[in-house]
Symmetry: C2
């Protein structure tokens, strides 16, 4: 989960200075600063690169804008004829500032603080690229996947290559762990999730491992529901990010025997804090810890979160000896 964000006053300040969100991601000094802000404040065990999953569409040459209080806007792909607008060859240079930020971060972080890089998974990227932004029902993306399987596969294959290249470059620049976010896996039907979420991720993981056998990989198929089991079965050796809705009993009995799990505190608890937050943290640690668990939230930090609640959480986790999230 992104650690920096609007809940931090120093981030809001930095964001104003940057001009736009894209500038923040693509200016190494600013991305470095945003990455370090939460680490300075909370002394996390790991820093997660400040970036965005839409760096890959941007790297492929699609126009990506972040419109204040609306969200991302992309020049939507309408069919295979639009794939010509995308160039895998252009990606390394367009994303060079991201890799530069990682190189600088690798030097700036204390050796005991791990650096996490990340990318969106092909399906989630495809959904933004086809819908032209966020979506409620993913009608356009799913209709393409259902109706023109060959054309959609072409896009998905291109995205798998791009995600692999992006993660590989991040590792070469100094990322020590990588995470793959399939934020909209839950929008896929129980039948499509294996085809368009799990299978492409599996292929990326296999190829990445061949190149970097020692780099841990975390896969977060948000909303996968009962299909989380298939992810665990097919991604042995990875860690599996659990969204908030995953019951701890299911995680412990069905998933943890197969994979390390990461998660899954409800971010709302970090907004309200107090005894309910403490109790929920305790429950996660008791049911899923201390082995084979990376404590984390089940989704991103909400802008309304008081930073003191994050501090309290970090301190409690450190006191438990599990390290901060």
């Amino acid at each position: 989960m992104r650690q920096a964000g609007r809940y931090l006053p120093e981030y809001r300040h930095l964001r104003e200075r940057a001009g736009g969100f894209l500038e923040l991601c693509l200016t190494p000094a600013l991305a470095l600063e945003a990455t370090l802000q939460p680490v300075r404040r909370f002394a996390m065990d790991a820093a997660i690169l400040f970036s965005d999953i839409l760096m890959v569409p941007y790297g492929l040459g699609q126009s990506v804008e972040f419109v204040e209080s609306h969200g991302p806007v992309l020049d939507a792909l309408n069919g295979t004829e639009d794939l010509a607008r995308l160039s895998l060859a252009a990606l390394p240079e367009r994303l060079a500032p991201v890799y530069q930020a990682i190189r600088e971060l690798a030097g700036a972080l204390a050796p005991e603080t791990a650096l996490i890089g990340f990318a969106g998974a092909p399906w989630t990227l495809a959904s933004y690229m086809i819908e032209g932004g966020s979506s409620r029902d993913f009608l356009k993306a799913k209709a393409w996947a259902y109706g023109d399987r060959q054309g959609f596969s072409q896009l998905m294959n291109l995205l798998a290559e791009a995600v692999l290249a992006h993660l590989d470059a991040q590792i070469r620049a100094g990322a020590e762990i990588v995470q793959i976010f399939d934020s909209w896996a839950g929008a896929l039907s129980g039948e499509m999730i294996e085809t368009w979420s799990l299978a492409p991720i599996e292929a990326i993981v296999a190829r990445l491992r061949a190149r970097h056998p020692d780099v841990p990989i975390i896969v977060f198929p948000r909303g996968a529901g009962a299909a989380y089991k298939s992810f665990a079965e097919n991604l042995r050796g990875c860690a599996l990010g659990l969204d908030t809705s995953v019951p701890l009993s299911f995680a412990r009995e069905e998933l943890q025997p197969l994979v390390v799990v990461q998660g899954n505190l409800d971010p709302v608890l970090l907004v309200s804090g107090g005894a309910p937050m403490d109790a929920a943290v305790e429950r996660i640690l008791e049911r899923l810890g201390p082995q084979r668990l990376v404590f984390n939230l089940g989704h991103g930090v909400l802008p309304q979160t008081p930073p003191e609640h994050v501090a309290r959480l970090s301190e409690r986790l450190r006191a438990k000896g599990s390290g901060p999230p």
Copy 2:
């Protein structure tokens, strides 16, 4: 799932005549007409009352408006002090037009066409009532549930009474099957879903059964994910509505031995139609049919759906001998 809707030209016409959505729900002749439209066109096995889950907040005296191309707007509850604004005693009279529509429908429908009534589940209703409408993160509703368990329980208990009263009145008016929609069950954490979705529904089901032992009850906890298993274990004798994301293998192996299942065609397939829709229908029937299955969509019909695709689906199902959805 609501069968009538903006995808039907005759519905759009009726909606214009009605003036507003609330008027449509609360004018017996219009609700009757909206209910009958899809039955006339597609000769479904069952008709589902044209109404809305927000009838219960309206019945309790909360102000509910449906704002065109925005969604519902309610005068949000901000804490227990606002519960005084709600009156269980007022509900039967405020919702009398709904029961009148059911009485007229029971007379108008062919005896072989079953009439389905419905209500929202307490958690989903609470979320609209507290957020004042739809929500992305359910921050206000969940923060209340986490932070003031006693006050929130008071609201939830009131809602359980109201839902029970509403379903009971629908059955007495002529509904032959009832469905309970927990549309936002998936927003609850894996720990909260048992407390705030399953437990209240279980209690309502038990009390409704005591009064009407022969009326089938369908429970739809949308987004419950792996927790669907708990619903199946604790709602024996009910049918369980499956959202689109439920894998057919999980439904067959883990749920169907315990309950009848309903679902779960992706509504996007009904928009795109053709061979992919036919194949997906076939797969559901093969994997889950013909016993212990009520064929249905995994979510509501999308406005972009061509009515001919619904017609084709109905015909194919009828040809298969499973009856239309």
